[in-house]
Amino acid sequence: MNKTRTPLFHVSKRGALPWYRTWAIRGTALLLALVLCGIITSIVTGQDPLAVYAAIWSGSFGTKRKIWVLLQNISMLLCVSLAVTPAFRMRCWNLGGEGQALIGALTSAACMILLAGKLPNWAVILCMIVSSLLAGALWAGIPAFFKARWNTNETLFTLMMNYVATQLVAYYCVVWESPKGSGQIGIINPNTQIGWFPQIGSQKYLLNILIVAVVCVLMYVYLNYSKHGYEIAVVGESERTARYVGIKVDRVIIRTMLLSGAVCGLAGLLLVGGTNHTLTPTIIDGRGFTAVMVSWLAKFNPIWMILTSFLLVFLGRGAGEIATKFGLNQSFGDILTGVILFCIIGSEFFINYQIKLTRRGKEQ
């Protein structure tokens, strides 16, 4: 008889779904994730799952300050995500967002420390802006040049540049440490506030948020309505086609990566000059990597990225709140975030594919 076993089900590619069905799938996934989280929470910790959800909510929206911090964190994550997106659209995997932002932070901090007292405040800020954008661009430009010239693998190259940046920052943290030997820079220019960005009213985060909002709109326009954006899309679809229609692929790669790096540098600048006023090797806080997820989940669309970065920051803040409120370890919050992300990313599978049960007897 027939030796081959028929599987119980098989997976096939779906055609395009109408938007309401894709969002129904995503919504179901989110609901499922929340239910799963509730079950896991009650089994593992014996806490009331509803109270846990409430804590996740209040982690982001509990107080006015928390809402501001939420918005600030969204804008920072969004900024790095916007930065890596043009490269991603070109199918050029810039995983160096972390390092590019870090190097921008380093140069901003360098300007604040070394130029304080030597130049007027506005000139220091100007130097910070110019140098951090250039430094970020350079950090992305090096791998881009190698890719364009010798077709090196940009994924590995940009990834490795992260470590170089981290070590450089760790080194300068020791050079500028205060007090000696502590490896800490602390707040830079706490009394003179040289190099600190001006505050809009009493809101210390508002300026950063507005800048990133503007960058977001500009990036949307750039990618969708400019000639450059079109070239990026064509190179992303097929390099050969791009060459055939006369696009200089090497130039597009380098130009896009420079832009990508510069916007990352901007994120570093905003963190150092706008809010933190310090420099540590962990100041970017993994946003360079989270940005990959933000950008991918939003299908590389800058406007959707507002939503996806909100989702990730919201979950992260909620995780922290759970840890505080229930005396649980921070890791428990991370587990919940993991469950939710797993469901959301998993839902993309069901949007692209469908599972069909195999009916017996139909195989012959």
């Binding site: 909510w57 706490p190 962990t282």
Partner: protein
């Protein structure tokens, strides 16, 4: 374009609705939560009206900020103290763990204030400038910072530093280590010249230098031929680096290890290699039964009780507070008889009495030299203005006055007999 905007708006609305919906289902939850919170003041009291417990305990909400969570021995020591102190006063603490030494510390402090805390404590050296920033912004809240250096010069009345004379505890740890070395020499396992101890330090600055120097002086107090090698991880908590540091020292011929970093990295490596070690922050007798000798630690409970009582009663907390072994702020864990040399307990009790009575000074200048010379004066950077300018002579009456001019250590002299193998 219009389509996308319409779509976006639709999604935002959907989300908003979903959000509202989920909030509604949650409404009973906050109410449930609110109830235990009002009870918190009267630890474990049944759900009585809030006024009753508030009368017996000081009306105070206390918030604590920790660099890591309980997996770090350093933070665990603080977490235990915070819970202890709050239990004594009938206060429910709000603990924030895993707060990095950056803007996050300021944000955590501000959030604690938003939640009604009038007492905020942070446990890591690098939290200082961010906590100070919060202290300036919220003058009605008392901010206490362990191990910091700036309070006595910052001129911010609601900002305070605290530390304990842990060098006394480390000296005792050193004595226990020295006795172990003597035992090994007597048993013929090593010669007197091979009595080399290793030390895994975090950062090469005063807090760590003061710690390992006092430990070393304790070792030499009973084992005069001892020498020491030091290596640094440049991190407060890095199990891998601390483990590697221990391996490096063991390979260099160190026969006993001590450390000032916050993970179990070095101890587990010592246990694996059967190298005896003296620990910090808490006992490792359970994980390392064959090699753990004893540990010194700071008991933060007395300070926390003092500072929170002051806050509740509206009294001044000193800008700079130092606990000592005599006041119960510096403690030794139980000695692990399996690893310690016989007679360790008696010797430690004897030396501790000498320390408490002031007959013995840890940094007695006759016991150590720099380039072969005895120090008669030393200008230390006590007033930390960020300038590294030495400003105070701290050697007098034949010893280095550690933690007297300011709670945080300022002994940062490289003495003879200690070799930094990273230099």
């Amino acid at each position: 374009m219009k389509k996308t905007i319409a779509l976006l708006l639709a999604v935002v609305m959907c989300l908003a609705l979903a959000a509202c919906g989920s909030q509604k289902t949650e409404t009973p939850a906050p109410a449930e939560q609110a109830a235990p919170q009002t009870e918190q003041a009267g630890a474990e009291a049944p759900a009585e009206p809030a006024a009753e417990p508030a009368a017996e305990a000081p009306a105070l909400k206390a918030g604590f900020i920790f660099l890591h969570d309980e997996n770090s021995t350093y933070d665990l020591n603080f977490i235990n103290a915070a819970k202890d102190a709050c239990a004594q006063l009938g206060i429910e603490p709000i603990l924030k763990t895993g707060i990095p030494e950056g803007q996050e510390c300021y944000e955590a402090a501000a959030e604690l204030v938003d939640e009604g805390c009038t007492f905020v404590f942070a446990d890591s050296f690098g939290h200082e400038s961010f906590l100070l920033q919060a202290a300036k912004e919220f003058p009605n809240v008392q901010f206490c910072h362990a191990t910091g250096t700036q309070a006595h010069t910052a001129g911010v009345p609601n900002y305070h530093n605290a530390f304990a004379s842990i060098y006394e505890g480390r000296f005792l740890g050193g004595v226990a280590a020295g006795l172990k070395l003597n035992q090994m020499i007597e048993e013929g396992k090593i010669t007197a010249e091979q009595a080399k101890v290793g030390y895994v330090g975090a950062f090469p600055y005063a807090e760590v230098k003061s710690g390992y120097t006092s430990f070393f002086l304790g070792v030499r107090y009973v084992c005069p031929s001892a020498t020491m090698e030091v290596t640094f991880t440049n991190s407060w908590y890095d199990p891998t680096l601390e483990k590697e540091g221990a391996i490096k020292l063991i390979n260099d011929g160190c026969v006993l290890i001590s450390e000032h970093a916050d993970s179990m990295g070095a101890p587990t490596e010592c246990e694996a290699n059967n190298i005896p070690f003296v620990f910090y922050n808490g006992s490792a007798a359970n994980d390392c039964p064959n090699t753990f000798i004893v540990a010194s630690r700071i008991d933060w409970t007395p300070y926390m009780v003092y500072a929170m009582t002051c806050t509740a009663e509206g009294k001044d907390i000193g800008a700079d507070w130092t606990g000592t072994i005599a006041t119960g702020s510096v403690k030794m864990t139980d000695i692990n008889e399996q690893a310690a040399a016989p007679g360790t307990a008696e010797k430690l009790a004897e030396v501790q009495e000498l320390l408490e009575s002031g007959k013995l000074q840890v940094f007695d200048t006759s016991t150590w030299t720099v380039n072969g010379e005895t120090k008669t004066e030393y200008m230390a950077d006590v007033d930390d203005m960020g300038d590294f300018q030495p400003d105070t002579n701290v050697i007098a009456d034949g010893y280095f006055h550690e933690s007297e001019f300011r709670s945080a250590p300022y002994f940062d002299i490289d003495i003879d007999g200690i070799i930094n193998i990273d230099a």
